[in-house]
């Protein structure tokens, strides 16, 4: 039985262009349940003070909210210690932190960075910049016809010269799940450090950092029911300890003299300036909510909706699907309608209350590889229903008519 999540997500009961909202852009950001909204109000209404800085009780309360969130996240992804959890504003900042702190310090001319062609720009552009700055080479693992990573590329390109492997666990365009555990083991064999972009995985599947043994994991709170502006970087303590700070200033220091500074211990070393405690309170509530739903239920609903959407879309002769024949797929359906640009599709769906994403999804190299300029993307979360998918399909069937193509 589908729990009726509409009660917990008032926004899902609102209208868009006079139609009930079918929100199918969850890969971009998810909606927030009431307990998350309440936790943010509760923080600002009853606990707000600058954490770590005051000796008075309210500041202690704020510090506790923040540090409780850190412990919550550590448990959630099974980190060894809460010191391995660094709060950032989003996955993008987390990935930049690794690239500019770890990458700039450890890479040398001639070293290689290996990423996949399916990376989001935020796990791609920082590596381009770091590679250029250090005279390192940026290599790509390409995809096979079904959309999975090419084993041949992995064997050929993951070598002793590879110092960094940065890979998304789930592609935000194709929804395909990469086997990061096997990849991490192979990378460690050649001595490379492994960075996993968990932006699309942590909200949807159980992630255990000790099990898959990556060195870093980056994700954003806002794609998992939390407010925008709170993100996470997990890193193995030994590696984080050896890295220089990324941003510097208040809160991340130990002693500062006129010419010299020593830095605070983990995790403060990487958390310069006043932090997003309200966001952290929201993240704690979001994890509570996700755990109350359970990843089994999340997988069940998302698989049902994805399979249903793909089978319905396959019946429409002028719809082209991308990466929809692989079994290892989670919650994302990417498609095009023949002779209609995705922008126009999204506008026509919008008029019918259906929210999807159209464009390059911050993955231009992947678009080029797939031979398309842009695509439409519907992405699901556990609160979506078959009715949402039916509305998507019905709206898609009107598109060619609206465009006067017959």
């Amino acid at each position: 039985m589908n729990k009726n999540f509409l009660n917990d997500f008032p926004i899902l009961r609102t209208q868009m262009n006079g139609q009930p909202l079918a929100y199918l852009d969850n890969s971009a950001t998810t909606q927030k349940p009431e307990n998350v909204v309440r936790s943010i109000c509760g923080y600002y209404g009853g606990c707000n003070a600058n954490p770590h800085r005051g000796v008075y009780e309210l500041s202690q309360k704020s510090t506790k909210v923040y540090e409780d969130a850190r412990r919550k996240v550590a448990k959630f992804i099974n980190a060894k210690s809460a010191r391995e959890i660094i709060f950032t504003k989003n996955a993008t900042e987390s990935l930049n932190l690794v690239a500019f702190s770890y990458g700039l310090t450890n890479l040398q001319a001639g070293d290689e960075i290996l990423i996949t062609i399916a990376e989001h720009h935020s796990n791609l552009v920082p590596w381009q910049i770091v590679a250029r700055a250090k005279g390192a080479k940026l290599n790509y693992i390409y995809l096979t016809a079904d959309g999975n990573l090419s084993e041949a590329d992995i064997s050929a390109k993951l070598t002793r010269r590879t110092k960094i492997l940065a890979v998304t666990q789930i592609s935000n365009v194709l929804g395909l799940v990469n086997d990061v555990k096997t990849l991490a083991a192979k990378a460690h064999e050649v001595g490379a450090v492994v960075i996993v972009d968990g932006s699309q995985s942590v909200p949807h599947i159980p992630v255990d950092v000790q099990d898959f043994d990556a060195d870093f994991l980056a994700f954003s709170g806002h794609k998992m029911l939390s407010p925008m502006g709170i993100g996470v970087l997990y890193g193995k303590q030994k590696i984080l300890d050896a890295m220089p700070p990324f941003l510097t200033g208040g809160d991340m220091i130990e002693y500062v003299t006129e010419q010299e500074t020593t830095f605070a211990e983990l995790p403060q070393k990487f958390e310069a300036g006043t932090q997003n405690v309200g966001g952290a309170a929201g993240l704690t509530a979001a994890i509570d909510y996700l755990q109350s739903v359970g990843f089994d239920e999340i997988a069940r609903v998302e698989n049902d909706l994805t399979t249903f959407a793909i089978s319905e879309l396959k019946k429409i002769p002028y719809v082209e699907l991308y990466g929809c024949d692989a079994p290892n797929k989670v919650g994302i359906v990417t498609f095009n309608i023949r002779d209609v640009h995705p922008h126009d599709v999204a506008t026509i769906l919008d008029a019918q209350g259906v929210a999807i994403r159209a464009g390059h999804h911050c993955a231009q190299p992947l678009m080029k590889f797939l031979g398309v300029n842009s695509t439409c993307r519907a992405s699901f979360y556990f609160y979506n229903t078959r009715r949402d998918v039916e509305r998507l399909i019905d709206a898609i069937k009107t598109v060619r008519g609206v465009m006067k193509l017959h």
């Binding site: 640009h341 922008h343 026509i348 159209a358 390059h360 300029n373 465009m403």
Partner: protein, 147 residues
């Protein structure tokens, strides 16, 4: 709402092949694109004695960006560069909702049909792409004539 945007006229212009080509005697070629959505055009103009003798384009993108480009090209032929510049300003003001007097917009001819885009902020860039590209092209051609 959709009927006011995806009209027959827009459909025709977005599908028309007439103005889609390379200009043999182009004096200036300018690329324009919308990084957020991927609309792309390459506009070529043949300018002589301050007059646009011919114009054409190639590109890929949504119906609105492509129809808008096609309509602009038809409007530009035979116009002076100064007039073209003024018309681009008028079109952009229309899309931004700053001018909505139909008499004033009549000069834009068929392109005035895109007026309703002013109510759709998400599509404003699609409609104005060609006209901003025109503006840049004219600026570059000025630079050339000064050089």
């Amino acid at each position: 709402m959709l009927e006011n945007i995806y009209t027959e006229l827009i459909a025709e212009h977005s599908q028309s092949k007439e103005n889609r080509r390379q200009l043999e005697n182009a004096t200036i070629t300018e690329r324009g694109h919308n990084p957020t959505c991927g609309d792309e055009i390459t506009l070529s103009l043949e300018i002589a004695d301050g007059v646009i003798r011919d114009a054409a384009f190639t590109g890929e993108g949504c119906a609105i960006s492509q129809a808008s480009t096609d309509m602009m090209i038809e409007l530009l032929r035979g116009k002076s560069v100064d007039e073209a510049k003024r018309l681009a300003e008028l079109f952009i003001a229309m899309i931004h909702g700053e001018i909505d007097d139909d008499d004033e917009l009549a000069e834009l001819d068929e392109a005035a049909a895109l007026k309703n885009i002013s109510t759709m902020p998400a599509r404003v860039k699609c409609a104005t792409l060609a006209w901003h590209t025109l503006d840049t092209a004219i600026k570059h051609s000025d630079g050339d004539s000064l050089a």
